[in-house]
Symmetry: C2
Subunit: 142 residues, 2 copies
DNA sequence: GCCTGAACCTCTATTCGCTTTAGCTTATAC
DNA sequence: GTATAAGCTAAAGCGAATAGAGGTTCAGGC
C-alpha cells in the first residue's frame, strides 16, 4: 500500500498534481484509509509513470487519455498509438523549427547591441522594426 | 484615425487580444468616438507591432512591459534591454535542447513500431518504460 | 431620414496543465 | 500524549489569450 507521497517521490509528480489527475479521471479513484487518505497499488504507480513520461514527451492530457485507453485494451491495433505518436512528433518538429528561427533572431539582436543609451539600442530597434521578422499575417499561411 | 479592426488586420492580432492588452495596461487606453468605439493613432499601431513582434520572439508580457518602458525612456541605458534579450535567448536555447531530446525519443518510438496489436506496441512500451528517459527527479536538477 | 450589415461594444466563461492558498484532519514516531 | 509530517477539500490563480452571448454603433446606399 503506497501513499500519495510515495507516488509523488517515485515519479517526481507533485502530490496536488496526482490528485488533479484523479479529479480529471486520468488516474483511477484511489482506495482510502478509514481516515480518508488515499492508498495506492503498484499498478497505480505504473499508470502515473506512464502519464508522466508521456507528459515529458509533450503529449497533451487528451492524447495521454487515448494512449492509456489503448494500453488498457491490448487487443486493439497498434496503429492508433503509432499515429498519435507521429502526430506528436510532427508537432515537436514544428515547434523546433520555430524556436530555431527565434534563436537566430535573438542572437542577431544581442550580437548587435553595443550597450549605449536606449536611443540607439539595437535590441529595441529590432523589436520596433517588424519588417525582417517571421510574421506572415498578410501572407500565405502558418 | 484607425479603428481596432484596422490595427487587428495590420498586426495580425485578434480584436479581443488588443482589448485584452488595453485591459492589462500594455496598450494605452484608446480614445473613443461619441458612440464609445476605440480610435487609434499611428503610434498605437507602432506600439502594438512592437508588442506582437516581441511576443513572436517569445518574450513574456512582463518582459514586454519592461522593454516598452525602456523604449519610452530613450535616455536610459541599453544594458537592461540587452539583458532581457539575453535572458530570453537563454530560455529559448534551453527549450530547444529539450525539444531536440524529445524529438529523438519520439523518433525512436515511431521507428520501432511495426503496427501489430497493442500488446507488442513499441510506442506504448516505451511510454511504459521509464528507465531510458530524461527524468531526473531523483537527480541533480532541472 | 431610414435601413442594412459589418464592425464594434461589454461582460463573462473557457482553455491547458497545473500550482497555490487557506484551513483543516490523520497517521506515525517517540 | 503530543509533536509534526503528511494528508485532506475546495476554491482561486497563473499566462496569454480565445470564445460566446447579447447588445450597440457606424458607414453606405436608397
Amino acid at each position: 500500500m503506497l501513499t500519495i507521497g510515495t507516488l509523488s517521490r517515485k515519479t517526481g509528480t507533485k502530490v496536488q498534481t496526482i490528485r488533479y489527475y484523479e479529479q480529471i479521471g486520468l488516474m483511477n479513484e484511489a482506495g482510502r484509509t478509514a481516515g480518508g487518505q488515499r492508498r495506492y497499488f503498484e499498478k497505480d504507480l505504473d499508470r502515473l509513470a506512464f502519464i508522466r513520461h508521456s507528459r515529458q514527451l509533450g503529449f497533451s492530457l487528451d492524447s495521454i487519455r487515448e494512449l492509456l485507453e489503448l494500453s488498457d485494451n491490448p487487443s486493439r491495433s497498434c496503429a492508433e498509438a503509432d499515429s498519435i505518436a507521429r502526430r506528436q512528433l510532427r508537432q515537436v518538429e514544428q515547434r523546433l523549427k520555430r524556436l530555431q528561427a527565434l534563436k537566430k533572431e535573438l542572437k542577431r539582436m544581442v550580437a548587435e547591441c553595443e550597450g549605449d543609451s536606449v536611443a540607439e539600442c539595437k535590441v529595441l530597434e529590432v523589436l520596433r522594426d517588424h519588417s525582417e521578422c517571421l510574421t506572415d499575417h498578410d501572407g500565405i499561411g502558418a
